[in-house]
């Protein structure tokens, strides 16, 4: 008993050290901007940089748009596959895994070839068009996570019977999805949303090649040209990501509950 607990703690300690030491080292380094003693100067420098604010805002907006588009695409798709085309599920599942297999660089070169300014759909011909294309790219990148989150959410409810109960009460399909299905899987959808947000905030390749003023390329630029700010930015990014993840945890407590009591 004692023995096994010792080994468990040892493994846990090694794992924790593996993650925490680089983090602590980075944090410590980010405090050393002023010679001789610790300060938050590097953080002040980051936050006061107008480019930080601009790129972060830009990426946050694109992140929100990606979440909205992702929900609008994935929720109805998963719903209809579960309800009417169960045989399609393995194929859809495979399809949603592709973004993990295909590198982002290939995706973005494909986009540029298909949607360049001299193509039939010249998304890259304007800034707004490129923003739309970037949003779609991020929806695709986040698809494996969003799909799985939504699919897991729908597994916890009886989609077919709830649909029929709403339908016989007079509800149309958009009403059923909006008032019954979505609210009941909201926590799952939000966890997909936070993952999407975390991906979008840090993404470099696509934003850079589409030449948009996103947070990822800004991070890379600072990292190549400054000493202490990159460490501060790494810590800030970590806190944002960690915050998004803990929101998922927090929200799962508010999931609607069911009970199949027989009394």
């Amino acid at each position: 008993m004692k023995q096994s607990r010792f080994w468990a703690w040892l493994v846990f300690g090694i794992g924790a050290a593996y993650f925490l030491i680089p983090l602590i080292a980075t944090f410590e380094f980010s405090l050393r901007m002023r010679r001789g003693y610790y300060s938050f100067d590097s953080y002040a420098s980051v936050f006061s940089d107008p480019k930080f604010q601009q790129t972060f805002t830009y990426s946050a907006v694109i992140g929100l748009l990606s979440i909205i588009v992702g929900i609008l695409v994935v929720v109805p798709a998963v719903y209809f596959v579960r309800l009417r085309m169960a045989w399609l599920r393995p194929y859809v599942e495979f399809l949603t895994l592709l973004p993990l297999i295909i590198p982002a660089i290939i995706l973005v070169y494909g986009y540029i070839r298909l949607y360049n300014s001299s193509s039939i759909i010249p998304f890259t011909g304007s800034a707004v068009g490129t923003d739309i294309l970037l949003t779609f790219a991020y929806v695709t990148l986040a698809l494996p996570y969003m799909y799985r989150a939504v699919d897991t959410g729908m597994r916890t409810i009886d989609v077919q019977t709830l649909t029929e109960a709403a339908q016989i009460a007079g509800a149309s399909t958009p009403q059923i999805i909006g008032r019954i299905i979505l609210p009941n899987i909201l926590v799952a959808v939000l966890s997909g949303a936070f993952l999407t947000f975390a991906i979008v905030i840090g993404e470099f390749t696509i934003a850079s090649l589409l030449n948009r003023p996103a947070f990822g390329p800004y991070l890379q630029n600072i990292g190549a040209n400054r000493a202490y700010e990159p460490a501060a930015l790494a810590i800030i990014s970590f806190i944002i990501t960690w915050g998004a993840m803990s929101m998922i945890n927090l929200l799962s407590r508010f999931a609607p509950r069911t009970s199949a009591r027989t009394d």
């Binding site: 409810i157 029929e164 109960a165 339908q167 016989i168 007079g170 009941n184 199949a260 009394d263």
Partner: protein, 352 residues
Amino acid sequence: MAEFLRVDNLVKSFGTTTVVKGVNFTFNKGEFVSLLGPSGCGKTTILRMIAGFENPTSGSITVDGQDITHLKPNQRQLGMVFQAYALFPNLNVGDNIAFGLKIAGMPAEQRRARVEEMLKLIGLPGFEKRYPYEMSGGQQQRVALARAIAPRPRMLLLDEPLSALDAKIRVSLREEIRAIQLDLGITTIFVTHDQEEALSISDRVVVMNAGNIDQLGAPHEIYNKPATRFVATFVGHLNTIEATVASAANHQVNIDGQTVTLPSLPSGAKDNAPISLTLRPEVLSVGERAGSDIALTGTVSDVTFLGSVIRVRVALGKNIISLDTFNDQRTAPPARGDAITVSLASKDLLIL
């Protein structure tokens, strides 16, 4: 009485298997009708076609003079209660009941009044703010009933609404459903595989067998005059006696060595041919009784005490039959191994 629901030649096939084989029936306004049959006989499929969740392969469904065969479920103005309650987990009881009213665009004030009225009807006043997971199964199913009838549907459809509940609540809730149905006068179709449930609360019962209707009638007709052997065995307990024809000319049969004279035999009965006789346990009585013209002797093989009724199993030879006798507090029930004489009126024998 006014015909309200009409089902004509309804057929449903899934792939190559036909599960509903051309059924016809008409129900009257305000009637409570049960679809009764063993699992897999097509009851749910018929109900789902009436609700609009399945498209009939052929045939038509008419409600109140309107052909609804090809309408979507949300255009049919019907109410439905499911076996698994199917309350919306994200909505509280009040919002669950108000769901159909809201969809129909009823103003909030009227909605609130209707919800209150419904909660009173199902005996759960003041439960508006509760969530489904905070309630017992019986309460959840009553809320589901209220949700189904709140928008004043033209018809109420119930698919085994009591099957997920414990035995005790099942009996009290079925009586409650019937009382509410009588109160509102709403035409109701109740699907069940439980014959006692169907017989006890229905105006009429449709007995289904493998996609066909075997019999449609009032509960006492189904029980007393079963149209087919299937109905006779499925509804209530039925004794079957394997006998041989002793004399076709004299209507005599031989039951384990005892010769019995019957009022008639099927035409074509030949001497020494086997014949099956069936009878309900309650038509048999212990000892000789006025009005009984057949007496059989045997040995008590088992006694089951059911409270007001005692079920006695009697071995006549290789045939064993059950009989029900009222519990008489002044006399001891028959004991296993006792010799016993049982009697019946020959008109109560069914030859199916």
